[in-house]
Symmetry: none
Subunit: 358 residues, 2 copies
């Protein structure tokens, strides 16, 4: 596979994101040069194979600034000045603030186009980096009045090289979106996990997958997140204020569950949760854009291949699929997600061919 | 492997938990008889291999009541009367209420010992059942003043047969514990997911793993959970009241992030989240039996069928499989779960055949 990215790429900041970008591009033989204020972090990223050390004579076509949020605007501005022929981007989680700061500082923002790959891990640093960190993840590009579509295309090529899915979204709309899908969840997860600090051992010993999942991101780095949350505070505030109103209704219902309307109040919150989960695209929960068929198959090698071969013969493209196989059960369960238009026909065709559709 | 469980086991209620118990015990050749008020649910569980239909002459040593919370006490009492030689348990999520109700009704509670396996899924019904649902999960036994240690040992044997980790905990302490580790997380996840109901598409399209994990259990059945939450309301209330107090501090900080103490306030919540996550004991939730291979496939009809056909040709049986397909991405990601013994050979064989194994 050859790279879509043309020319040298300079990565400033070799933490989790910067090193992951370097690893991914280097694996495609892109010339990646790395820089970091910490010599030991830089050495680790170089050793790890993310690129070579920056040096005199570097001539990057693209500079990717992957530094903590509170210094993004400052570093982007310095890079714009140092490399007057380069397109400069950053990967920070908040986009409106840095753009406004650069504009206010009189930086040459016609060569700046912010981005935000929707990928991360609870652990940071180059050692946590992965070339496939961005695989299948949205990579937001935030065009502005002074950027060009050609510049966006250059960054889209870079995102595609890393396996990401480029999405163009203006800074304000991006920041509104991440307040809902990333920043509010971070705070809610932290608030929930905080309940465990003083919990007795016999309680934490009962922790199941639900608690683990809901609190996983509460393990994130507080120093990084204070910066992110502060930078997007005005957009997170209304999301969590609404949540607080709903929480107050829940508290009232729990205080007197036998009161008129209390059960209904709890059911409303739980049902709204169902509806919210259904809005998330993809493998999780129900996808409104797809219909799921459940097929029972014998638990023998080749059965699922035969099913999928027949679906291919019927000309149907699967949107998603999941196999469930309970050890000891004589049958497996295959869930097929297809577009609603083809679901009815597929069900009839499969039943006609002798498959058991539940 | 031979079963520790002695004698016939009767399972009343063939939903997710009852059918999973039946599947697991049947795989160990325990004589399992099944009953359910719904003939179609019962038929599905029998077809699935969870046991045989209950009949005249059944003589269970143990009766497991796996019915919705609001009818647990009623059904347990009926089973105690119908099978005067059996030990009766239930698997409901709240333990103090049923015990008190049985005691108040004058039921022979010297043959009742409640239990609660800490396992579940967002989806219910026999079709979602799995013999390995309880693997590595705590299984609480709630001894009381009129139960014996020998009875607890009988249920511990059953739990061990299902791969669970038995834990003895009095009903009140159990109910306090699950308020923190299960019931509060359910409500918080629902409250968070509810933010997505009116979110714009460009926001939900950016959903990442953090949002998916924090909202996964918000997909749970509202009717079931209203019963659970109502039955344990007095214990959930203080947990969520504390959370509301912390949330109010967060809202104040977000309203004026530049104010003195605001950053500190956010950092405190995030750090408390770190500390809370650190209280969760490690690794109960990982799948102990399988290794996962990740294969990248082109997003065209027939590709996955070809992959699975080749896996079948290689004589490998899949334990589980999941397809991830990000809309607009040129590739899909297939996660194949196989037994550890065959994983290495399969990876090499697939790469040899030209598949991209990540």
């Amino acid at each position: 596979m050859s790279a879509r990215t043309r020319g040298q790429v300079r990565v400033v900041g070799t933490g989790l994101l910067g090193t992951s970008i370097g690893l991914g591009l280097s694996s495609l033989a892109v010339d990646v040069v790395l820089d970091d204020v910490s010599p030991s972090t830089l050495a680790l990223a170089v050793d790890y194979g993310a690129g070579r050390r920056s040096a005199e004579g570097d001539a990057p076509a693209v500079v990717v600034v992957a530094v903590p949020p509170d210094v993004v605007a400052h570093v982007v501005r310095a890079e714009l000045e140092r490399f007057p022929d380069a397109l400069v981007t950053d990967v920070a989680s908040v986009k409106a603030g840095p753009l406004a700061a650069l504009r206010a500082a009189g930086a040459p923002i016609e060569r700046y186009l912010g981005s935000h790959p929707m990928a991360g891990r609870e652990r940071g640093g180059p050692i946590a980096a992965r070339a496939d960190l961005f695989l299948g993840r949205p990579w937001v590009l935030a065009p502005h009045a002074d950027s060009t579509s050609e510049q966006a295309a250059v960054l889209e090529a870079l995102a595609l090289d890393l396996g990401a899915v480029p999405v163009r979204l203006p800074a304000e709309r991006h920041d509104d979106a991440v307040a809902i899908v990333s920043h509010a969840p971070q705070l809610v997860s932290s608030l929930l996990a905080a309940r465990l600090v003083d919990a007795p051992d016999h309680a934490t010993d009962l922790a199941g997958q639900g608690l683990r999942d809901t609190t996983r991101i509460a393990g994130s780095d507080p120093a990084l997140w204070v910066q992110i949350l502060s930078a997007n505070a005005s957009r997170i505030l209304p999301v969590l204020s609404d949540l607080r109103d709903d929480l107050d209704a829940v508290l009232a219902a729990l205080a007197d569950p036998a009161a008129a309307g209390a059960q209904r109040s709890l059911a409303d919150v739980l049902a709204a949760g169902n509806d919210g989960v259904a809005r998330i695209p993809g493998k999780h929960g129900v996808d409104l854009r797809t219909t799921t068929l459940t097929v029972l198959v014998d638990d023998r090698p080749g059965q699922i291949a035969r099913l999928l071969t027949e679906i291919g013969e019927l000309g149907v493209n699967l949107e998603d699929m999941r196999l469930e196989h309970s050890p000891g059960a004589p049958i497996g369960i295959v869930e097929l997600a297809v577009t609603p238009e083809v679901a009815g026909g597929l069900e009839a065709d499969l039943q006609h061919r002798g498959w058991r559709v539940a």
